[in-house]
Symmetry: C2
Subunit: 516 residues, 2 copies
């Protein structure tokens, strides 16, 4: 066997059995090894942003890492934006980057670059395999670190480490790293705050937004009057019967207003909310001045357990009550008037099937769905996390591979959708059950708002040329069909509603271009 075989064996014995890939010449031995391992599902992306975004979506839904296969520094570079999102989502990924044979680096061949420097900003762990004999230990380390730190492990695989022979040995599963224990002092401090009569906000993120954790948070809230907020995270289980946490608004003023009354913030799975961007003369943090911040637990803790312990610490029984979201989906009236972002969201909310997965990259358009979400059939929500746009379509790819029996509804802005539009082809090839809804407003609408935020209301030619997506208009149906995805356009609520019902009632990828 060679190093590449060993790499595959270590992945497979640790149940990493999906590899999102876009290989190049330096990875040919790795490809040949994968070809000898039919248990590994290899999923091709036609651009690396699809590969890494899909790996992110997959792990968010499968709760285990996928591997990736990228080609040298430029291949990694193309995938970095969605690795950035994965890093912010704290998604475990075993990100494998092929490189030249180690003795070839001296020649500075055209594709040579400093892969470590590229990888570090978007990785929690970076390592380079030193030779075939190092493949097993390094791959086990990459895998373990992805789990332990909940994040991106980037492992560099030189071609000669892949093709070098080694003596056959069958790897065994590595021990899964245990989460860090929650500090007893912090637990006591949080419990004291909750019992103090002060106004407390519990700000949840990451795995604190799964149903079991939310239920504990909901019991604490019901008993103490604490308010529950959520930060943008990898995955939220939401809908009727669950506990709702209110998203911290993106807009700085709105966020400050929403948080103004709280004297204590207990952060579970994250730090205190900060503004996405700085604006002249506006603050960068959102909590009221003097608000005490208690960081109860981080992503390296078991967040559900931490919330359970906190409930116990304040004396709640395991069956203490919480206020579940009421089911209101069947009472949402069909919208009237023009097709716009809100009416699209309302139609989707009405028709959302049980157990759906909503992939969301629709910053200026998706608000109405967030408002309606608590009353819908239980579903998962996986949004863009790190602000690096171009993740929606790949997230849907990954979720579709992870959960073949669930309907994926991708709410996708047109501007960001174009970044990784190539992912539609992978949806077609893998026959994923994804309905993609394009909010075709033909502008970087978020930026038009931001221009107004900086005081520019009259856009001249140069601003319009950079913020509008018109002249020519994109034809999303044509783009989708070019990659083998059925598609149709909606210009009225009736058309959109009919198309959405059809898309939900059948299997396979479908795209609806909603002209709003």
């Amino acid at each position: 066997m060679n190093g590449a075989d060993m790499l595959c064996d270590v992945l497979l014995v640790n149940d990493v059995d999906v590899c999102f890939a876009n290989p190049g010449t330096s990875e040919m031995h790795f490809v040949a090894a994968l070809d000898r391992k039919p248990r590994m599902r290899c999923v091709l992306g036609l651009a690396e942003g699809v590969v890494t975004g899909a790996a992110d979506g997959y792990a968010r839904m499968a709760d285990k890492p996928a591997a990736t296969l990228l080609h040298t520094g430029p291949g990694l570079a193309n995938g970095l934006a969605n690795l950035h999102n994965a890093r912010r989502a704290r998604t475990p990924i075993v990100n494998i980057v092929g490189d030249h044979a180690s003795y070839h680096l001296q020649y500075d061949a055209p594709l040579t670059s400093d892969i470590e420097s590229l990888a570090r900003p978007m990785s929690h762990w970076v390592g380079r395999i030193s030779g075939p004999g190092d493949v097993r230990a390094r791959t086990e380390e990459a895998y373990t670190e992805a789990l332990r730190r909940r994040g991106v492990s980037t492992m560099i695989l030189p071609a000669d480490a892949a093709w070098g022979e080694l003596s056959a040995e069958m790897p065994v599963p590595v021990a899964r790293p245990a989460p860090l224990p929650v500090s007893a002092d912090t637990l006591s401090a949080a419990a004291r705050a909750l019992r103090s009569g002060k106004r407390v906000a519990m700000i949840l993120a990451g795995k604190a937004l799964r149903a079991v954790a939310l239920e504990s948070a909901g019991r604490i809230a019901a008993a103490t009057g604490a308010a529950l907020f959520s930060q943008t995270s990898d995955r939220t289980e939401r809908g009727a019967g669950q506990v709702a946490a209110r998203p911290v608004p993106y807009n700085v003023e709105q966020a400050i207003h929403a948080l103004r009354e709280f004297e204590v913030a207990i952060c579970v799975g994250g730090r205190q909310p900060v503004s996405f961007f700085a604006y002249p003369g506006k603050p960068g943090t959102m909590l009221a001045p003097g608000c005490e911040v208690i960081e109860l637990a981080s992503h390296e803790n078991d967040l559900a357990a931490a919330l359970g312990m906190l409930a116990e610490e304040i004396g709640l029984r395991k069956d203490s009550p919480f206020v579940p979201n009421r089911f209101t989906q069947d009472q949402i009236p069909m919208p009237t008037g023009p097709l716009n972002a809100d009416s699209v969201c309302t139609v989707v909310a009405r028709g959302l099937p049980e157990n759906a997965i909503i992939c969301e990259e629709s910053i200026t358009s998706g608000g109405r769905l967030t408002t309606l979400a608590p009353g819908l059939r239980p579903h998962d929500h996986i949004p863009l996390t790190g602000g690096a746009i171009g993740e929606g379509i790949p997230l849907a790819v990954g979720a579709g591979i992870a959960c073949p029996d669930r309907k994926i509804v991708a709410m996708q802005a047109d501007g960001s959708g174009m970044y990784t539009v190539q992912g539609l082809w992978t949806q077609a090839r893998e026959r994923l059950d994804v309905v993609t809804i394009i909010f075709a407003n033909r502008a970087y609408a978020v930026l038009q708002g931001e221009m107004r935020n900086v005081g520019v209301n009259d856009f001249g030619r140069n601003a319009r040329r950079m913020l509008d997506l018109d002249a020519p208009d994109l034809d999303w149906c044509s783009l989708a069909r070019g990659m083998g995805v059925e598609a149709a356009r909606a210009e009225t609520i009736e058309q959109f509603s009919d198309l959405f019902d059809t898309a939900v009632s059948r299997k396979g990828p479908f795209l609806i271009e909603a002209i709003i």
Copy 2:
């Protein structure tokens, strides 16, 4: 005025008047400043690979840098692959990356990342503006370094440096840096070698492949019997009446065979050729063992002047003869048989208009055109340089902006074309005179060859899933129309020939999908 105004003024006064852009929130003040400068042509790319690849193509043809506008670390990351190609092409670019306001970095907001670490591997110079008062000096430095080093200057623009006010002062043009002088000793050594009777190869790259430089090389070759080779470079002026240099083959064995007889290699504008990748048991360099290498001049020298001085050094008069390429374009017979890569190239060669610009990213398909090129009407050839695929369509964008009166013929493989397919929209929006020819072989054909190189001839399911682009086939005409570019498919030589003639005879973007 604010820092962003000053930045624009420094660019414009130094004749940098094109900005390829994909802005985000942290760049809104820069966008607003650009909006106040109608002399700056702002060109939007719907993904950053288009932005940077276009900046590369533009500077190769305009012989002056463009600016870019990218959004924080992830925006830069998306553009790095084509910055890598620009770095290898030694293309001057003023690559501007917006970042958070400096005081906001402490909060580690979602889009925060280590931009310097990302930028360094693909840049010749990296600098961060420290505040509004630093904008002028830093921008002048970025511009000067791009010219002096012939390469990528990455300048990080914090939002507060852009919006900060400063006292109005009108910048003046900076002195263009003079090229480094060529060493007299090296010149003598090269002249001695040429007169020694030894077999000499002159290996040309970069600006040594422009007509004037090639003519000097041709005079030296005619007088001494030296052979002329070229390395993959930013731009080659080629065709009838010019001097041809033979490309060093990509294939290692073929390259070693082509170079086996030479005792001396004189490198002009580059180093000795090395193999693109390492293969088990094959050498990494291509010159014969013991071949003496003389590096006459680097990209920081004036390569045309260096070749002129070398001709003088060996005693040639300025009008000493060279062997110009004969015009044979009108004698190329119309191909017969099936439409394949060779017949596509042959039809293009027959119909190539005078002064065309060929953008080439067709590694496995373009060989026949290279063979025919010396006999064609004079034209420019700008190929992929650094091996980071996904540059062909953006190169055509940049060339089209730089040279609106010349026909751009983009020879584009399908696999690499998908990486930055978004560039077709910019071609439509800017009404560029580009005919794109897609070699639709529906595979990563280069990788299928490389798999055979590593000894795998029977591809199993996983290998096929990673190396074939079928199931579903891409429909390039649909993709092009989705972005506003007219397109048609050719399945026979007759169809292709008719379409190519039509495309050449009219203005504006057109795409031909050649099914081969």
